[in-house]
Symmetry: C2
Subunit: 378 residues, 2 copies
């Protein structure tokens, strides 16, 4: 194997596939990055066996030569060292060649690295994914849907299925749901799909977070292929594989109340900042519980009290309050997470009593919903 | 106590005095910030008993009213909560008043905090410093002198005196020296001093690092007062006290070789980057040892080798090499620290053999010197 490549493109691809590489693996070869040079260009692969990422650097792009292939071949190099080295090389162009068995030489200007490589034949094969049923979604919408739901997955392994996000496709609509059983985030959107098929799978939250970090903010379409135990996201020159979680995701539709007793409309930013300040003195339990009360004149009072430190009272002027008076306590952290995930400058919060879950939505937007279970303090 | 203050000024002063506050103190009141309102303005104080910082906010500045004093008085508030609260208050103006014994109310817009204060009478008094002998130094020069020496102090408490920087004033020259016994940094400068007196003190490295963070980059003069066991730095509206380390600083002048056998002149940045790359594969011991050899044509070769990972060879074209041929090994970390501390685009490295300390200086600049002890590997 021998090729000369533009350093910037190599650095970018290495960074992308590094997202899948972990040093805490029991399979030694997975601490490496697989490099394959072919007539078409160079392919890099990283994997931790849950997530696998493949990044392709074409020989040419828009008439520019990016890679000059001198000899096809393959090698696996230690990811930790290889990624640090390529970042710090002195010149714009890098030569990588396998010489003398698995010894790999990296040359750039007056700098020459000799790395002990591993045999690429021993690198595990990526899953073969049948691409019969594909649906498409713009990159920025995909990133938004991940951002607006993934924070609500469970971080506890008590119920492993809740560490993933439930993706359902039905009638041309993709619905993403995450819950840790104390709160729930739901986002739906229309998608492009040729098939009339429906899916119901659970994707690990960690996979979605890593995917989101790699994708640029643009509206290029991403192809999504779902199989029995894998999901594949295909962007230009990038393949992202994740395993799916096994088991049935709980039916969350019954959790979401359909009626409400008190509806409050507030400015998102003002409300978020008031919750944030009130949480400063709310150290009861680890979730920073604050109290919310409707008071006269459409004013919402947020308060918290920790006797040994002090107390805080915040008033937020609502746009409207309809229905019954209410006093309710909830986690300030969950509320702030939910508010940050919502778009729009005004939100509706719909309560069904102090002991029932409540719903937060942007005003006049049915595509996203956040649900929080209150905390019993009264 | 009651006053109304501009929030931005309060936030800035709180951040400054917070640098001296630690939660790991055995004196509970030192977890607080002391606030004193007088006819002249508001004074904040933070201290961990090693470092004490006092920041003054005047009633007026350039004709602008910054503080409106309603009633003089004093209180101590929990630093952790007070600093978080002031940062997040909603309006530009903040009212702070002590009501009902030590209960302190902070009001800003529709936000109202009640904090349990502590009695300001119980806050320790800052040291009284006689200001007879003062010398002056511009802020940016002070910051440079700290930056160029403090990294070389010892982090080990085996010889506590080496955790400080030795400041010597003699004949109108300030000399700062730090060493951890494996390397040494020295910087000197002319200073403004009225007294013909001389000093020889050791200031804790941590104090100098914190001082440097607080001071803005400008050339305003800082007054420095040295007493038997304290040093006081006085900037506008800011007092910074540090205790001095007790004991005699070792005589380092004998360590610095006066002659040399090999002198090399190189471009600082090229040399630094070559060392940085060579250190990537240098994991022998924790100090990343690299080798330097003079080879033909004024070329300097930097190399390292870790058999299980690989090896690297870097070539740097020197501006000149004079004297004997040389092979020497040293810590890449110490070399990079030293190079980053130096100013100037070209440096001279003067060696006196493979087993003797060597010196790094900017070309044609005698005010700064870095010394490194080699490592025995040949």
């Amino acid at each position: 194997m021998k090729f000369i490549i533009q350093r910037d493109r190599l650095v970018q691809s290495v960074q992308d596939v590094m997202k899948a590489v972990t040093s805490r693996t029991t399979i030694p070869i997975l601490t490496g990055i697989k490099i394959v040079a072919s007539e078409e260009g160079v392919t890099l692969t990283g994997s931790d066996s849950d997530i696998s990422i493949e990044s392709f650097i074409p020989k040419e792009e828009d008439g520019d030569e990016i890679v000059e292939i001198k000899q096809a071949g393959a090698i696996v190099l230690q990811a930790k060292f290889f990624s640090e080295i390529v970042k710090k090389l002195p010149t714009d162009s890098v030569e990588i060649s396998v010489e003398n068995h698995l010894q790999t030489v990296i040359r750039s200007g007056k700098s020459e690295f000799n790395l002990n490589g591993l045999d690429a034949e021993e690198y595990p094969h990526l899953p073969q994914v049948e691409e019969e049923n594909v649906f498409k979604i713009p990159t920025d919408l995909l990133k938004a849907m991940v951002r607006q739901t993934v924070f609500a997955v469970s971080t506890s392994e008590t119920r492993p299925i809740l560490t993933g996000v439930n993706w359902k496709v039905e009638n041309g609509t993709l619905t993403c749901i995450a819950t840790d059983s104390h709160r729930l985030a739901l986002r739906k959107a229309q998608i492009e799909t040729n098939a009339s098929e429906s899916y119901n799978v659970v994707i690990p939250g960690k996979s979605l977070s890593e995917l989101s970090k790699i994708l640029d903010d643009n509206n290029d379409l991403i192809d999504i292929v779902i199989t029995e135990n894998q999901v594949l996201f295909k962007a230009e020159h990038l393949l992202f594989f994740s395993r799916l979680l096994e088991g049935n995701y709980p039916d969350t539709s019954r959790l979401i109340p359909s009626d409400s007793k008190t509806d409050v409309v507030v400015n998102t930013k003002e409300f978020l900042q008031a919750i944030d300040r009130a949480s400063l003195l709310a150290k009861e339990g680890r979730n920073n519980v604050v109290k919310l009360s409707t008071i006269d004149g459409g004013v919402i009072e947020i308060s918290s009290n920790t006797p040994e430190i002090g107390k805080v009272v915040e008033e937020v002027q609502s746009k409207s309050v309809e229905g019954e008076e209410l006093k309710i306590s909830f986690s300030a952290k969950f509320m702030m997470d939910a508010l940050k995930a919502l778009e729009g400058s005004e939100i509706t919060i719909s309560f069904t009593g102090a002991m029932r879950p409540f719903i937060i939505k942007p005003l006049n937007d049915e595509s996203i919903l956040q649900l929080i279970l209150p905390v019993r303090t009264y």
